[in-house]
């Protein structure tokens, strides 16, 4: 493990610890560290390779969380947008699915629309960072696939999300 990577890991751990220590309502769940760097390709060429999807801290961030009834991307996810967009640029054969989800409140069919809006918001952000629209498929599950089933603010915040899935690396 080289020194820059070790420093980066330390920084991540610290960020994660800080993120865990403060309890703020309506905040995204702890699994969303604010990554200090945008891109850190492991290969010497400066280009992402498929293995980076498993090792690169930024690329491993595959879930984007949203505020209640909102589809605006929160600032802390800009770094993730930049690195995933770079990956798509570096690997034109890569394909992703953006799976939009909503919390349980309100109409199920309306939430299907809300999930799609969130998927589109992520897609737009990736495109703004140079990711091609042709590499992305947006789909919405509305509130039908919750990751958390309690009726609480904390749980709702975890369910309002877009999951980035690589269908081709």
């Amino acid at each position: 493990m080289n020194t820059p990577t070790r420093v980066l890991l330390m920084a991540l751990l610290c960020t994660a610890a800080v993120a865990c220590s403060k309890k703020v309502k309506e905040e995204a769940p702890p699994a969303t560290p604010t990554t200090p760097t945008t891109t850190q390709p492991a290969t010497g060429t400066g280009m992402y390779g498929p293995e980076d999807l498993d090792t690169d801290a930024c690329l491993r961030q595959r879930t984007v969380y949203f505020d209640f009834d909102q589809d605006a991307l929160r600032p802390e996810f800009q770094a993730a947008m930049a690195c995933h967009a770079k990956y798509l640029r570096d690997r034109p054969s890569a394909r992703i699915t953006l799976e939009g989800h909503a919390d349980e409140r309100g109409s199920r069919d309306y939430n299907l629309g809300l999930g799609e809006r969130r998927g589109n918001a992520v897609s737009s952000a990736l495109q703004a960072n140079g990711g091609s629209a042709g590499q992305q498929t947006v789909t919405s599950y509305g509130e039908e696939r919750p990751t958390c089933t309690a009726s609480s603010e904390d749980c709702w915040a975890q369910n309002r999300r877009v999951e980035i899935t690589y269908t081709a690396r």
Binding site: T97, E104, R105, G106, S107, R108, D109, Y110, L112, G113, L114, E116, R117, V138, T139, S140, Y141, G142, E144, R145, P146, T147, T149, A150, S151
Partner: protein, 447 residues
């Protein structure tokens, strides 16, 4: 319901009637317990009716079904009747000749139903019953129905329909079916099922099982087919129409983006639906013969949940074009939409009564979602609240508009409730374990 629970319900009902004005907002919450039938308000106008147990007088095995109880529960659930508890029946006549009117007048009953079950030959039963007007000492109905043991609940529901119609002049909707979606498990291991059951939740049957979400069942007007949404194709929403008799099904919409909210037109020839293939969810009408699509809306916001007006000439739907979700109406051939709901910040999932006078919606305020009813029959729109919340959704009118079925919560579990359209009587439907949601009340059945 045990006798103790029943007595509790009666005591509380009297108490509520007295304190109605003060306590109505809290009464519903206080009643949420394990009771099968929740009385959520005074029920003074409900007609007292005694449905006397109908014994088996044949020579074989008696049927499992307590026919009188099914009839009594149906009538009570409607909010229009108050069934006399069985233990209060000091006489048990089984035919007209045995009826002592004075007894039932003393018990303050307006109507009386008596009957018996006899053998019909070939293993079938024959249920003979009569309906009496106690005050007039007059027989209103005398009917015999035949069926096998497994059809006795169907027979009982049809009896309740006949009694309801004879007394109220409105067709009963007890002998109908409901569709709904269940889910069990969490995370990656959720199993979904599309179900069909009797209107009281009994006799549940699986229509489709899937590990991908199932949504939005809607009945064809003849009750033979269900349209619904499944995610089994390419991990995206698609609309299917399935024949309940044969199980054969057809995928009618699987465009890019959302394919959701199917709604059969009153004549069954068209399907209103939501597609987001143009970029955002819009309302379309599909001709089911040619599969040709007509786009009804074109807005940047979310337009979804189309449902037909009774005359088939317009479609109600949910739209957030004004900022928050509200109900709008648009001609079925397209054109400009008009807003229908103005009270409340969140109105969605409209269901329309057969006569078009009333629209029930899921009405949200903060974190509380209730079923609300908009009555437009008296000129000025009038709102009433049908459910206590806090996560009530997916209302669906009975075909005679006497009741509304909706999905609510009991703890973290989704359950179904049936509430009388006047909000007086609410019952939790007894269904299997798992989360239950998205009820759709089916049409009248052909006799």
């Amino acid at each position: 319901m045990t006798p103790i629970q029943r007595r509790l319900a009666i005591t509380m009902r009297a108490w509520f009637a007295a304190c109605l004005a003060l306590l109505l907002p809290f009464a519903a919450a206080a009643q949420q317990g394990g009771l099968e039938i929740d009385i959520v308000g005074g029920n003074a106008q409900a007609l007292p009716i005694a449905v006397v147990p109908m014994p088996y007088q044949g020579s074989g095995t008696p049927p499992d079904t307590d026919i009188a109880r099914v009839v009594r529960d149906d009538l009570s659930r409607s909010g229009q009747f108050r069934g006399l508890p069985e233990q209060d029946m000091i006489e048990r006549p089984t035919r007209g000749g045995e009826v002592n009117y004075a007894t039932w007048r003393t018990l303050r009953q307006d109507f009386l139903v008596v009957g018996r079950v006899v053998d019909a030959g070939g293993g079938a039963y024959r249920v003979e019953y009569e309906l009496f007007d106690v005050a007039k000492q007059e027989r209103l109905l005398g009917i015999a129905m035949t069926g096998r043991a497994n059809a006795m609940r169907d027979v009982a529901h049809q009896m309740a329909d006949a009694i309801y119609e004879k007394i109220l002049g409105v067709r009963g909707a007890f002998w109908t079916r409901i569709a709904y979606v269940t889910s069990t498990g969490t995370g990656e291991n959720i199993n979904y099922a599309l179900m069909v059951a009797d209107s009281d939740g009994h006799n549940p049957q699986v229509v489709v099982r899937s590990t991908e979400p199932l949504m939005s069942p809607d009945w064809s007007p003849d009750g033979r087919r269900l349209a619904y949404v499944s995610f089994e194709h390419n991990n995206n929403s698609a609309i299917y129409i399935q024949d309940l008799g044969t199980g054969a099904r057809e995928r009618v919409a699987s465009f890019r983006g959302i394919n959701s909210s199917p709604s059969f037109s009153p004549d069954g020839s068209r399907l209103a639906l939501t597609l987001s293939r143009s970029g955002s969810p819009e309302i379309y009408v599909m001709d089911l013969g040619s599969k040709a699509l007509t786009q009804l809306t074109s807005q940047i916001g979310i337009d979804t949940e189309p449902v037909w007006a009774a005359d088939g000439r317009s479609v109600y739907f949910t739209s957030d074009r004004g900022g928050r979700p509200q109900v709008y109406q648009v001609p079925a051939t397209g054109g400009s939409a008009t807003r229908v709901t103005f009270q409340g910040t969140y109105n969605a999932s409209p269901t329309v009564s057969f006569d078009g006078n009333r629209i029930a919606v899921a009405q949200g305020s903060g974190n509380v979602y209730r079923i609300a009813l908009l009555d437009r029959s008296l000129g000025t729109p009038r709102w009433s609240t049908l459910s206590p919340g806090s996560l009530d959704e997916s209302p669906s009118f009975a075909p005679n508009a006497s009741m509304v079925l909706y999905a609510g919560r009991e703890g973290t579990r989704g359950v179904l409730y049936a509430v009388s359209a006047d909000g007086r009587v609410r019952q939790r439907l007894v269904l299997a374990d798992g989360n239950v949601r998205e009820p759709a009340w089916g049409p009248y059945r052909a006799r």
